[in-house]
Symmetry: none
Subunit: 403 residues, 2 copies
């Protein structure tokens, strides 16, 4: 019996409320002797750490640097290797495109081709986003459907866009339509499996790409397109089914709203700031028993290598923490999805500092919420997929296993 | 998707250099209050531990005492349970016998039988090695091939030897040819699987054993032989493929050179002493990106229960450490393959003290490289198979997993 089945069998619904507060990319490495968590003034986080059980979480595997997709699946209690969602899906979620059953999505680039069809610029000179929007409008008006497959196009930033195909007989087992290098001819997708759906999909995409070149003939430099990461809608058993939760997501970036939706969360309306997230939390407190709250900017400033602003976001979270605690959640966990050290200006493999507070924890000797102190916590270093089971256990939402 | 596939997909080649320094059997238990690591004066190892992230590694599973084979597979990043290499192979590697595809090897004992074919001494009175070499020569001259199967014999120490069979239709699925006890008749192998190759191999080995008894009729006490641990050449995907490393092994004992060869390492020429290993390292520094350096004698003295000499070897490694560090490896890990406490005079199940130094580690509070102090390190106690992923991560040789 696998892990998921065990939780499905043991989980029960009750009135107790859980908060999972994710500071995206909060873990880091020392710069001038201190990590952002060590440099930040965060009396509330530290006071909570002092009352809590602490540890460090491994998002996927030791040494592996995860993208946001797998890192979040772990946080939501799902095996991130079993549910490795396609890049096309994540790109779509990132620009707020909903994906459903019978749909295949892919990430697109506008590119430049010469008269012989040779790709001379894979990013079409990074055209401005407004130009992208114009071209998407033009293409959408000219190509709505091919052989019964509905085609939808969505602008991203600069040269990027998302394509969505809708038909019951599609497959995502087709190759990227991208020569990967400039100086090579435009490439059409090939079926990766020997079946009708893959052949049908490759054929539709090829027709679409050829039609697009006709429509875009006067749109230099964006006169063709490349498509990568074809992905079907992933069938993931929802949190309601496996964990019996009635879960809500409070996140103001599309990617995280999308990831939450994939596991069945109710994605709540929220404004763009951290304060807006707290407003939503208070408003909706009585309607759900699980709240995933996502703080994006710890990661964004980590990616930018902006140590000072990363510290400020941590301090901002510290300021709003008492408002969350005043709601008296029965269990609250605070951690990151992955680390984003300013020293690396990107995601990293380092485990995330973690705390859990409930009436049922064993308080350890950790007094400060930092990478190094949490490493000394009672949980040690453990897989992030164990966070959700710990939260369920600490709110008495899991029955006994066996007699 | 399994772990190996993930690393194969994520690993990339770059110029950064890794050193994995293995002090075989370095971990131990206190004798008169101190372990060998605690008793040794090792300012350089301790200074490096102070700058590093520390922990303890579990070679196979908690409580399991590993042989050198599985312990090294873990160090090289391979699942030691999936790749459990046969004893015949390890015995062959141990006396510097190369093994290739289409070959089956086994460990042999010369033994004494009486006129009725009853084994009266399973070790033939532990004949001197020189006598063994004479007998091997005699047998080799008289039995070169049986039914198209090429037969090669190699002397070990005292009564021990290795046999190698070469033919495309061999199998290692045959039983040991050893009654296990004295007073029983000599035993011939039986096929363990119902297939032609196993039957063919058992038949060839039986013919060989009978011929040997004829050839050895005047060689009392070594007038017959026993064979155990038939093993085919194990097919292991090389480190070049899975981890994209260009790896080199510096080891002056045959077993470890052989283990390194099994995972695709380039086994470098080296003299018999620890100093020789450093000479080779310096000479070859520019030619590889991964160096496995093996120190044998910490284990040998552990096996002998020779505490004083185990301490001396640790102190010797401490002296040469600055020479390794002066090459500026981008990441260095130091640990054992398994523990070999003088108190036990043999391998043990105790985790190995571990340190890792790179620009991307979080320095912990460990200041001394010992069993007990490393247990307080930031990595805690973790599987030895995670060492290689950590080394790859710390040299930026792993791409991000998922988007």
């Amino acid at each position: 019996m696998d892990r998921e089945k065990i939780f499905e069998e043991l989980s029960i619904r009750n009135e107790k409320k859980i908060v999972l507060l994710i500071m995206d990319g909060v873990g880091g490495l020392p710069l001038n002797g201190k990590t952002a968590l060590e440099a930040a003034k965060k009396p509330n986080l530290d006071a909570l750490a002092e009352k809590s059980s602490c540890g460090r979480t491994i998002p996927v595997l030791t040494g592996i640097t995860p993208g946001s997709g797998p890192a979040h699946f772990s946080l939501f209690g799902y095996d991130p290797i079993k549910y490795n969602v396609g890049r096309g899906i994540l790109e779509a979620l990132g620009i707020d495109v909903d994906v459903h059953e019978h749909e295949v999505v892919a990430r697109g680039n506008f590119c430049t081709i010469d008269r012989e069809g040779i790709v001379t610029d894979r990013r079409a000179g990074r055209i401005p986003t407004e130009k992208n929007q114009e071209i998407i409008k033009l293409l959408s008006e000219n190509i709505k459907e091919i052989d019964g497959v509905k085609i939808s196009l969505y602008s991203g930033k600069e040269h990027r866009f998302v394509i969505k195909l809708k038909h019951p007989e599609l497959s995502d087992k087709i190759s990227d339509a991208d020569p990967q290098k400039e100086g090579l001819p435009i490439k059409f997708p090939e079926p990766l499996e020997n079946n009708e759906n893959a052949e049908f999909t490759a054929n539709i995409v090829t027709k679409f790409m050829k039609k697009a070149i006709v429509v875009l003939k006067d749109s230099h430099p964006a006169n063709a397109l490349l498509l990568r990461g074809f992905s079907e809608y992933p069938m993931i058993p929802p949190m309601q089914k496996i964990f019996k939760l009635n879960p809500a997501a409070i996140a103001n970036y599309p990617m995280y709203r999308g990831l939450a939706k994939l596991v069945g969360m109710n994605v709540l309306e929220v404004g763009p700031e951290i304060d807006d997230e707290i407003i939503t939390l208070k408003k909706e407190w009585n309607n759900y028993d699980f709240f995933y709250i996502h703080i994006k900017k710890t990661d964004s400033y980590g990616e930018d290598g902006n140590f000072e602003n990363k510290v400020k976001i941590i301090e901002k979270v510290d300021q709003i923490l008492p408002e969350i605690l005043s709601l008296n959640p029965d269990a609250i966990a605070i951690t990151g999805d992955h680390s984003t050290p300013c020293k690396i200006s990107g995601h990293s493999w380092h485990p995330n500092p973690f705390l859990l507070y409930s009436p049922y924890i064993i308080k350890d000797e950790v007094k400060v919420f930092t990478e190094k102190e949490c490493a000394k916590g009672i949980y040690g270093t453990f897989p992030a997929t164990d966070i959700l089971p710990l939260l369920l256990a600490n709110t008495l939402k899991l029955k006994k296993y066996g007699a």
